[in-house]
């Protein structure tokens, strides 16, 4: 019924448009492919799409080689259209790449998850873990010349706590004290080891209180794009939604001598193929949104382009197969295990991804310090799968299931699963969603049996991992616990691990968690897609020595022309 009404509404809109145009164009296929385009900037929990991301960070010696390397324009190509530029209220790559140039954060991270000073020149965590004290650099100013103070840090944290989609980042924060202009004390209701990672550039940009604290709603604040005043190494000079983001060197940046570049221009180019061509002919210097594997392979063969996947370890993208555990058939652990054994992860990597992804065997990516490599990887074993199915009471062809996937790019993985499960006697039909919102609605409403999904770890398990398994987070929207998985033991372990300050004990708890989930397989992990970034050789110190890739400030990137 609703659909019919919608159809009528659409017809009415067409009628209006038709009346307005008053032409009588017959039907040629000239319709542009705008309507069915995947909703690329829909992300609020995570990114769902195919786009790869890059890296970030730079050298230890004097900024910009003591001024010798200053100058030039870096042109970044990106397919991603940001909703706006204020990363305190918006997650995702599209906002974070320009956002980390425009705003500084309290901390930076090197490529081994070690925090490094940025706006905070030092910090300490209280012994009981219930407060974190940040000591800010003395002479930092916003782009409008106003000093960056602890009040701004406090305002940014409380804004992110209220509006950022990653609720667990600042959930335990009870308040931020500002004993003086350069000291911020974050008070916590419980020990919260993830708090330092939540100070990363992409997660906690420091925004000016004197601009944003005017009573307007932050997520829709006009200054999120207009007259942008930031704290970062570059300032916004031109912003045209979906077209261009031009950022100029901020001369009063608090790191003396940085940034090296005069200008960063982000060109938003919807078609990844055009970005690849731009990289090949030198019109684009750097990009991580390269499109399908074929494009990456093609760039790898080009000696004028460097391709690398270094530097984005924290993003932790996992492509996985999740199962609705409330489904009568899939509620049986043996059926889920059989499905896991039926799938050949290596085939997917070699054939479908042409070797450009790496295996994912648990819910915490291999690159994370909390990854447990001893879990059962469920390498393909058709006999074992058949045996498990027989044990569960399903003979050859007795079981019929459906599989969803994020349209349009994930269809190939779903098609493969259909074939793989056929080999063990399970009939699978593809369940087609015409667009991303339809798919997301189905999965969030648990109107599915199996789906391919793509969920990101986002650095700390508290931020990106817990949400998929906690029993009090079932069906809270897409990229929450969409399997319906509920295990009191897992809830307890995760609650404990989220508060454990000792890294060793925390890793042990997460290992226990991974073992349980691996045995019960509500989710079968497929691959970790890599964030392939391509850049021209004259780009020096590209953001490859961090864990956040291009979601890092590029104040140390320079051009060697």
């Amino acid at each position: 019924m609703k659909k019919w009404r919608l159809l009528v509404a659409v017809l009415a809109v067409f009628a209006l448009v038709a009346a307005a145009c008053a032409s009588d164009d017959d039907d040629d296929g000239a319709a542009p492919a705008t309507t069915a385009a995947p909703a690329d900037d829909m992300d609020d929990g995570d990114d769902h799409d195919e786009d790869d991301d890059g890296d970030g960070m730079a050298d230890a010696h004097g900024p910009c080689n003591d001024g010798a390397n200053v100058g030039g324009t870096l042109i970044i190509g990106s397919t991603q259209v940001p909703r706006h530029l204020n990363g305190t209220v918006q997650s995702g790559y599209a906002t974070a790449v320009p956002g980390t140039q425009l705003n500084a954060s309290p901390l930076l991270y090197d490529d081994e998850y070690n925090p490094m000073p940025y706006l905070a020149e030092s910090w300490e965590v209280a012994d009981d873990g219930l407060s974190v004290t940040l000591h800010l650099v003395q002479d930092a100013v916003f782009h409008d010349g106003m000093p960056i103070t602890s009040a701004d840090v406090a305002f940014s944290i409380l804004t992110a706590q209220a509006h950022h989609p990653f609720k667990p980042m600042f959930a335990p924060v009870t308040g931020v004290d500002t004993p003086d202009e350069h000291t911020a004390v974050i008070n916590l209701s419980q020990p919260h080891p993830a708090i330092l990672l939540a100070m990363s550039p992409g997660l906690l940009p420091v925004i000016p209180k004197h601009i944003f604290d005017d009573g307007q709603e932050l997520p829709t604040h006009p200054r999120n794009t207009e007259d942008f005043v930031g704290s970062g190494p570059f300032r916004l000079v031109e912003y045209e939604a979906g077209t261009i983001i031009r950022m100029e060197r901020f001369d009063d940046f608090f790191i003396e001598g940085a940034p090296c570049l005069d200008e960063i221009v982000m060109q938003i180019i919807p078609d990844a193929t055009n970005i690849v061509l731009g990289l090949e002919n030198g019109e684009i210097d750097l990009s991580v949104t390269l499109g399908p594997s074929a494009n990456v392979l093609r760039l790898m063969e080009n000696e004028n382009v460097t391709v690398s996947s270094d530097g984005h370890e924290a993003i932790g993208q996992i492509q996985w197969l999740e199962m609705n555990v409330d489904d009568p058939a899939l509620s049986d652990k043996r059926v889920r295990q059989a499905i896991a054994y039926a799938i050949d992860r290596d085939f997917m990597i070699d054939a479908l991804d042409q070797g450009l992804t790496i295996p994912a065997t648990s819910g915490i990516v291999t690159a994370s310090p909390f990854h447990d490599s001893t879990v059962n990887p469920y390498d393909r074993d058709v006999d074992q799968a058949k045996a498990l199915l027989a044990e569960a009471g399903y003979g050859d062809g007795d079981l019929s299931l459906t599989i969803d996937y994020i349209p349009p790019t994930q269809v190939i993985y779903a098609e493969y699963v259909v074939q793989a499960l056929e080999d063990v006697g399970i009939n699978v039909e593809l369940s087609v969603s015409p667009d991303f919102p339809t798919w997301a609605g189905r999965i969030a409403g648990r109107d599915y049996q199996m789906t391919i999904n793509n969920v990101w770890n986002w650095g700390d398990p508290v931020i990106g991992v817990h949400r998929s398994y906690l029993s009090d987070n079932i069906d809270q929207g897409i990229w929450t616990n969409n399997t319906g998985y509920s295990n009191a033991e897992v809830d307890r372990i995760l609650a404990e691990a989220g508060q454990e300050l000792d890294a060793g004990r925390r890793a042990a708890l997460y290992a226990e968690f991974q073992q349980i989930v691996s045995d019960e397989v509500p989710i079968y992990y497929l691959t970790t897609p890599q964030f392939w970034q391509a850049y021209n050789p004259h780009v020096q110190d590209p953001p490859t020595r961090t864990i956040w890739g291009m979601m890092s400030p590029m104040h140390e990137v320079w051009l060697d022309r």
Partner: protein
Amino acid sequence: MPDAAGLGDVAAADMGVTPGLGAGGGPGAARPGRETFRLFVRNKAAVVGVLMLAGVVFMTVAGPSLYDQDPKDIVARPLIGPGELTEARLGTDYLGRDVLAGVINGGGTSLTVAAMAAAMVLVIGIGIGAVAGYYGGWADSALMRFTEFFQVLPALLFAMVVVALFEPSMWTIAFAIGVVAWPGIARITRAEFLRLKNLEFVRAARAVGATDWRIIRKVVFPNALPPLIVSATLIMGTAILFEAGLAFLGLGDPNTTSWGLMIGLNRGNFLTAWWSVTFPGLAIFFTVLSFSLIGDGLQDAYNPKLRGR
């Protein structure tokens, strides 16, 4: 009343398949059907079209039993070129499926969707066109405004909206194509009915008391058929292209192999694996071309001005 009806029959039988104006045309035109056939085969391109279509239909109907390979099975490594494998003569696609099996089995979906869509187009188009043309007046105005409304819709865009609303499947795709493609047929039907309804033999039928329904069905419609047959043939071609277009844009039904779907899913690999796109593309090309050629031949055959030449 029975009498009147009987007379109506006579009128219809007399005029029957013979186009009104061309009745009794040239000297050798004793059997109109044979004459039409003669004119049709005189158009060599049309004959080629028929042969091509026969080939496509044969491949689609008999192919799957002659070449027993499920198009969805993974038979070999992905993206292997044509000629390199005996199990996949035309190469494999991105999943390692046999392109040849896909081309053979994909035609069924494409042709079925096209036929269903064409049937729907004809039913809607002829229904609306006939009523509008025959009755005229406010019915004509209302129905033609309605037709124009659909005519100004960007067809592919509208079809995409329909498919997106109702989930892609063979039925919704055929429905979407049918809903967007009928205005042309409606207008042709209306024009024919307008032309025919005041001709003498129709007036005669009316004079003897035949009902409107009977006149429309037995007198006017058979005489309006020739241009409609030509259009219907072309609609088949259009519908195949539409189906391919929708599948190309990601709105196909991946559970059923079709040519358009093969192209749509494989297009990312076009530069590295041309065969996975080219062969289904060629299949679409030849099928649509055959319909065009046949339509062209039918047009010649039904054109009274060519008779007797």
